[in-house]
């Protein structure tokens, strides 16, 4: 047993780090490390740089233009780029719809969509949830009725992350109301420019525009945009939900936040001394670092099983729950460290500077905004309650 990286893996990490330092826009890296909000171009600039290098398809097989990296390499890439302040690669195209198209899409769909996902030309968003169908996704109502070579789509999707930037949306739609709910769902690829689509912002509790409602009013979608068979969409949807495993724990991102938290804990004062010297706070910091290390080794176990083509065991199911909880703890500790400096809500003005002079340390500026925002992590991607239900049923047989 050896819990360290091999020389080859370390060399790979160095290569990734050198590339990132040369090709990541420093202004974007600064934003990421400070924790300010990124715009469309911030994400895309990095995406394009990777595409040029042939690294955008991190988890993709070579046949489709991907890196062909094994899962440990993917993890190293995630960790190193996060550490350097690279924006997260938006998962909806690269990690979600692309694997579905690869596995179930037609040759035409593969040839047309995959290169545009890889290059960053088309930004994708995910149209699963509806107001009445969150945890109970299979009850979805957004309807697609056949009209010759088209489907006519009517209904509403919601919580659509960054849909305001999207060129395409992949949707689960109801094509039949007979039999089991799961058996009347189809998987459609829809161009956001199609007439009849309206995107409305939902403002989140940190007062940011991150999610949207997407309305469909007699939207005509060519039948050729259906992935796989009609009424088999649920199978593809489940494939998609189960597919993305390494990213969901967010270990790379957590490590970056830990670094930041350590920085913050040195800047903050408790009774005239740096907060890091306060044993009560330091214990909390130590605890979350221990939890994170346990998560990382668990993740590496899952990756090793995947690399050996063994079915991952129960540990795989725990990653989302543990990862999201650790992310929340980290943002909470950052807010706690800031103390009174976490109270003000200071909007971003020009060039990311605060819109009113801010007399507290810069390091604290986004502390509570992040804490509030990160409450989402235990809700989205299948809430942690639903994850626990699944583990209880599927893993424990209860």
């Amino acid at each position: 047993m050896d819990l360290t990286y091999t020389a080859e893996q370390r060399a790979f990490a160095d290569e990734v780090r050198t590339f990132t330092r040369h090709h990541l826009d420093p202004a974007v890296a600064r934003k990421v490390l400070e924790g300010s909000r990124l715009g469309r171009e911030d994400f895309l600039g990095w995406h394009r740089a990777l595409a040029k290098k042939g690294w955008a398809g991190v988890g993709w097989p070579k046949a489709f233009g991907g890196t062909g990296w094994n899962s440990t390499q993917q993890h190293i890439f995630d960790e190193v780029t996060a550490d350097e302040g690279a924006p997260q690669l938006i998962p909806f195209g690269l990690r979600m719809v692309a694997p579905v198209i690869m596995a179930f899409g037609s040759k035409e769909q593969q040839d047309w969509h995959l290169p545009k996902i890889l290059s960053g030309e088309n930004w994708w968003c995910q149209g699963y949830s509806e107001p009445g169908s969150g945890s109970d996704l299979a009850s979805l109502k957004c309807k697609a009725e056949r009209d010759g070579d088209h489907y006519i789509v009517n209904g509403q999707k919601t919580w659509t992350t960054l849909g305001q930037y999207a060129d395409w949306i992949f949707c689960l739609v109801r094509t039949s109301s007979e039999g089991r709910q799961q058996e009347g769902i189809s998987f459609l690829l829809i161009d956001m420019k199609t007439p009849g689509i309206t995107v409305r912002p939902i403002i989140m509790l940190d007062q940011e525009h991150e999610v949207n409602e997407v309305w469909f009013d007699d939207v005509r979608v060519p039948v050729g945009n259906r992935v796989g068979e009609e009424n088999k969409g649920w199978t593809y949807a489940k494939f998609l939900l189960g597919h993305e495993r390494t990213g969901i724990a967010g270990v790379g991102r957590c490590k970056r936040i830990v670094k930041r938290l350590q920085h913050v804990a040195k800047r903050a004062q408790a009774n005239g001394r740096p907060l890091i010297e306060d044993v009560r706070f330091r214990d909390r910091l130590a605890q979350v670092e221990i939890d994170l290390r346990a998560l990382e080794i668990t993740l590496l176990r899952v990756l090793a099983a995947e690399a050996e083509k063994r079915a991952p065991g129960p540990e795989a199911s725990l990653l989302k729950i543990k990862g999201s909880e650790i992310q929340q703890t980290l943002t909470e500790l950052t807010m706690m460290a800031a103390g009174p400096a976490a109270l003000p809500y200071v909007r971003e003005g020009e060039h990311g500077a605060p819109d009113v002079p801010w007399l507290s340390d810069e390091a604290f500026r986004f502390a509570s905004g992040h804490y509030f925002n990160f409450r989402k992590t235990t809700i989205y991607g299948g809430s942690n309650e639903i994850q626990r239900n699944i583990i209880a049923q599927m893993v424990l047989g209860l």
Partner: protein, 377 residues
């Protein structure tokens, strides 16, 4: 032992509750927090009519001579209504400071405007990089002839945006302890940077550059403001505990209602035991917090500072923990709708979070309680 309220107390609670139900709906509040000032003078004046501003001022100083329990009743209602008018920052806290630090004549002179709600005060104490220190005042005051000159920065001043006068803590060179100065918010050299806070209350960072004040600006005795500041923060903590109870209880109610109405998998989500247990644990936090808010309210009248500190810190520890649990679970049990700005759930959550980290978080007060244990051992 007596948990009953007097007739006056019942009447006060009643009229305030009626005001909130009638004039402070979620829609009213939206309009208020979206306005330029971010709070409403009209509503402020109505609160003054109910007697809120005069309540914490001693009768001898022209007020109603209310106790910690009276403040508790008020704050609980303000918490339930998520009232953003700066009652804590501009009334409760300064009233306690003036009462504890001021000379007899200062108390009478300063209390008049405060008790009528016409003059707003704010306590400018915390400095950049500091968290909850009550005594470490780095901001410098120098004596110059019979005047004082203040230089330094204060941050996260509650109600600092609206205040007409600032009560500024500062240490004169050579003094062992801090002093308090009454400074006009419009004095030469005072710059304030006002902002909304995450919970839609307002505040300001304040910069003082060569601000000159007269000898009469010194509130109470030179270098001896520490006990008064400690007392004011304790009174503020007790008020926050009560506000938290009002907000928590309401948020719990909203959440239980949601568990009964939101359906997934063909039945109300509240049928799931995993969620039922969470709702019960929330209730336990509410009721434990309610008890400790009472402890804190009564402790405000305790003349023994050590005993007062212990009770207040016990309450603020437990209530801050309650704020955290109830707030986080309310959001979680609402699912996606819980993290939106448009629903009141997140507004309660944010206020509860801010309460939990104001004037000392759970850890800080646990430490202060522990220090008291050690001192007694």
């Amino acid at each position: 032992m007596d948990f009953n309220l007097s007739d006056e107390q019942k009447a006060l609670k009643d009229s305030l509750a009626k005001f909130i139900d009638r004039a402070y709906t979620f829609d009213d509040r939206w309009k208020i927090i979206k306005s330029v000032e971010g709070w409403s003078r009209k509503h402020w004046n109505q609160l003054a009519e109910i007697g809120l501003m005069a309540l914490p001022v001693a009768e001898a100083d022209g007020g109603l001579g209310g106790t910690g329990v009276d403040t508790m009743l008020v704050m609980e209602e303000l918490g339930r209504g998520l009232v953003v008018e700066p009652y804590l920052g501009c009334i409760v806290l300064p009233a306690a400071l003036i009462r504890a630090a001021g000379s007899e004549s200062q108390r009478a002179a300063l209390s008049e405007g405060l008790a009528s709600g016409e003059t707003l005060y704010a306590f400018a104490h915390t400095e950049p990089g500091q968290r909850y220190e009550r005594n470490a005042v780095a901001i410098a005051a120098t004596a110059k002839d019979d005047r004082y000159v203040l230089n330094g920065k204060k941050v996260s001043v509650l109600g600092g945006d609206a205040a007409d006068r600032l009560l500024v803590s500062a240490t004169l060179s050579g003094d062992a302890g801090p002093s308090l100065f009454v400074v006009s918010a419009n004095a030469n050299g005072v710059k304030r940077f006002a902002y909304p806070m995450h919970d839609a209350q307002r505040g300001a960072d304040i910069e003082l550059a060569n601000v000159e004040v007269g000898a009469d600006a010194l509130l109470g005795e030179r270098g001896r403001a520490a006990p008064a500041m400690d007392y004011a923060f304790d009174v503020g903590c007790a008020a926050l505990c009560a506000e938290a109870v009002g907000a928590m209880a309401e948020l719990h109610k909203i959440t239980v209602e949601y568990l009964k109405t939101r359906k997934q998998f063909g039945r109300p989500i509240g049928m799931n035991q995993a969620l039922q247990h969470r709702a019960v644990d929330m209730l336990m936090h509410v009721e434990m917090s309610r008890s400790m808010a009472m402890e804190a309210a009564v402790a405000c009248e305790n003349t023994d500072p050590a005993a007062r500190a212990k009770a207040i810190s016990a309450a603020k520890t437990l209530v801050s923990q309650g704020c955290r649990y109830v707030g986080q679970q309310a959001v979680q049990l609402h699912g996606g709708i819980g993290v939106t700005h448009e629903l009141n759930t997140s507004h309660y959550f944010k206020r509860l979070t801010m309460i939990s980290i104001t004037f000392g978080d759970a850890d800080w007060h646990l430490g202060r309680y522990g220090d008291a244990l050690l001192a007694a051992a």
